[in-house]
């Protein structure tokens, strides 16, 4: 088993001090170490943005692809070689905006991929624009676009699309988050975790303190994640401006469905199949 510290790289970390990404990175490292995986067995697929850089810092194989496209990149990897442990890491703009369509279909497909969505409600690397998850009333510096519409609720979308593992974590609670990621690792299907995180530079509404005051663990409320109705109710819990509704974290919903890469597929790593010329010969005969 690889040690926690083995899950790191020589790359310089270019996040702001105090960034919620550090918590997520730490939790992911803990979960990986606990899962007994070797770095070479894992592929981290990163989107573009500060969050996607996790791929560069985790010390596993990585495919650091295009903005918004981490999920299809990951699906390509997983379908070609189901033996790899594939983890998607992206931001809210990345996974919910640019790549929103892919996320909807990932819930439907249910590949055995863990998806960590860094949700800080704002665009960081392009300097402070509203993100799909920005709350109404959140007024980023000089901008108001996007803030007159309800925030995107990835968990509700996941439930509606038949998602099989729908969870939310908090970057400020590393232990809890590491455990959630661990559960997602064990889940045979699309293990989706929306991770609340502060942005110290651009989001002055949803700060670490703001979250810390509001989050509570679903498990302590004896929530039954197999109950879709209960999950729906919990998923819709979110504080409106000024009210003090609390924010649940943990696994909202879980169901058993076959993983996509096992459905009507060769069921093995096609990357390792030997070329068989007889297949071609036979195929050619059909055109006589």
């Amino acid at each position: 088993m690889a040690e926690d510290k083995a899950w790191s790289t020589s790359a310089e970390i270019t996040w702001c001090p105090g960034c919620g990404n550090f918590g997520i990175l730490a939790a992911l490292r803990q979960a990986l170490a606990a899962a007994g995986l070797e770095p070479w067995q894992v592929v981290v697929v990163g989107g573009i943005g500060q969050s996607g850089k996790v791929a560069q810092y985790i010390g596993a194989n990585f495919l650091h692809g295009l903005h918004g496209r981490a999920i299809p990149h990951a699906l390509g990897v997983k379908l070609a070689n189901p033996e790899l442990k594939v983890i998607v890491v992206g931001g809210d703009g990345d996974l919910y905006g640019e790549g929103g369509n892919h996320l909807l279909h990932a819930f439907r497909r249910n590949p055995d991929i863990v998806c960590l969505a860094h949700n800080n409600g704002v665009y960081g690397l392009t300097k402070g624009q509203a993100a799909p998850t920005s709350s109404p009333g959140f007024a980023p510096k000089n901008r108001e676009a996007g803030t007159h519409i309800p925030a995107f609720n990835p968990l509700a979308a996941g439930l509606a699309m038949g998602g099989s593992f729908i969870a939310r974590g908090f970057a400020g609670d590393i232990k809890h988050l590491a455990r959630l990621i661990g559960e997602a690792f064990e889940h045979k299907g699309f293990g989706f975790i929306d991770i609340l995180q502060p942005c110290v530079t651009y989001n002055h509404v949803n700060t670490a303190e703001w979250y810390r005051k509001r989050v509570y663990d679903l498990e302590l409320e004896s929530h039954n994640p197999l109950d879709a109705d209960a999950a729906r109710a919990r998923i819709l819990e979110w504080p409106a401006e000024g009210d003090d509704v609390e924010i649940p974290i943990g696994v909202f919903y879980r169901s058993r469905r076959p993983a996509y890469e096992t459905c009507g597929r060769p069921g093995q790593a096609v990357t390792r199949l030997e070329f068989d010329i007889d297949v071609v010969k036979k195929a050619m005969e059909e055109f006589r």
Partner: protein, 623 residues
Amino acid sequence: MTDITLAIAGQAGQGVDTASELLARTLVRSGYHIFSYPNVMSRIRGGHNFTAVRVSDRQVYSTPGKFNALLAMDELSVREHRADMVEGGTMIAEGRMPSIEHHGQSSNDEARMTIETRNSNDRGRGERADRPTILRVPMAEIAGKHGGSKTMANVVGLGALLALTESGDSPRSRGRDRNPVQSPFSKLRNLLKERFASKGEEVVRQNLACLKAGADHIRERRVTNVECRMLGQSATGNRQSGKRGRLLLTGNHAIALGALASGVRFHAGYPMSPSTPIMEYLAAKQAEAGLVMEQAEDEIAAIIMVIGAAYAGARAMTATSGGGFSLMVEGLGMAAMAELPVVVVLAMRAGPATGFPTRTEQGELLFVTSASQDEFPRFVFAPGTAEEAFCATNRAFELAARFQVPAVVLSDQLLSDSLWTVPSFNLARTRVSSDFDESAWQGRPANSYRRYAITASGVSPRLRPGFRGQLVRSLGSEHDEDGFQTEDKAVRVKMHEKRMSKLEAMAGAMEAPTCYPEETADVAVVCFGSTYGAAREAVDILRSERVSVAMVHLCDLIPFPRERMTALLAPARKVITVEGNSTGQLAALLRRETGIKADAQVLKYDGRPFEAASLAEEIRRKC
């Protein structure tokens, strides 16, 4: 020499496509060469589609001219194609009465038709010699009677059409096949048996009954067609090509087979005419060939998945058309930056935007050569025939893998949808190299693998993620040799030059342009892609008129064969480019790369393919 055209026309949903494919295959099995071009409207039902099947005893490469016989499944087809018939051609048309009519009358003008009814034996005499004979066959009705459903009307029609190939001796002898083994009619019977065997005996029986009833309907009438009858008579000739025999397949299928023969393991796509059959074919082959076909939610996802699969180590491809390719442009650059081999088939249709979804054009040559931001090496192949499409697809996979770059196979609706007769592909000549030398990495120190190691060739050794002890880091940002993101300008320069340095060796790996029938002549006709067929046949026509002309066809287009083209075109008195677009993209590329300015251009952009005869005429005017 036989070179005739049989056409089938009707509405979408009337089985024109199936009937023409059956007809073409029947004739191939009878020893002929076929070129069959579907002319399809972009709709599911109704409208007007037709497919012209050109039949010859030598290899044919381009779309048919006028029709010797037409199977018209509806009345619109009769009206639409009167002008397309050769002198004295024969139409077999849906309908009851009268039995025979002539061109030039409205079909419901029964009185006149009756007066003008004549036997085709009168053809060639009198003032109406140019009019086609119209034979009415109540196909739907017969199908209902013998097949239990009017959907078999196309088989009835085929029977009638093939009856024209029989000699018009006595009605009695026409009742049977004179040579039950060799005649096209018997070949079609066997074909129907094969085709419907899986659907049960009853379906086979119905089809055969429909076929025979349709044929009998014509046989009873003692009509025939001289050119068509040639098909029946010469069907015993020795026209099988070599030991391997012939295949009849579309360009799309040739590409898909080429992919199989290259060890493709992953295909992701999103349906878009005219590329969709590639995806459908590979989907059907998943289990047998050990490949994954994923229908993506959009074209963006398709190419991105392909990149993921290539990263994982699978030979991977996608196929699309112009609009889909537009959405894949960013992914193309991603593959280039990550140095992952992906193969993209771009089957062009008339644009911009949705344009003509089911019609042909060559309007994306310059788009594919410069698509995606910044510069990177890429391959572009523009095969001219189905056979070349098969080979070029194999080259695309091999060379993409060897140089770790994206490769585009540029097809178009003409190449993709047409049915071609090709000699059975020579698998001894296809190559499937191993893309990984993993044994070299056994026992190396852990974490010593560098995905983007600088090498003399610019190509770094590849490993598949999941290799014990080594990590594989691929990315779309500028990076160092280890695969970590960098903003260092010296590293940027080194990496950019590493990628671009592949170009020279890539150019060396390309196949030379095809010169037909010789390298030099007074006039050089330069073309790419599917224009091959019409250009080649136009050259034949012109040379038969003693015009000194030769064709230079580019399949391996990018990296552009600069020196070769310069040398090839230097002796020509005139350079004429022929291409299926409105702005002369090949001419522009030729001048950009070699400085050679085409003396004249022949352009076509009406959504229809070039025809050899009219192309020859255009070239003649410009030489």
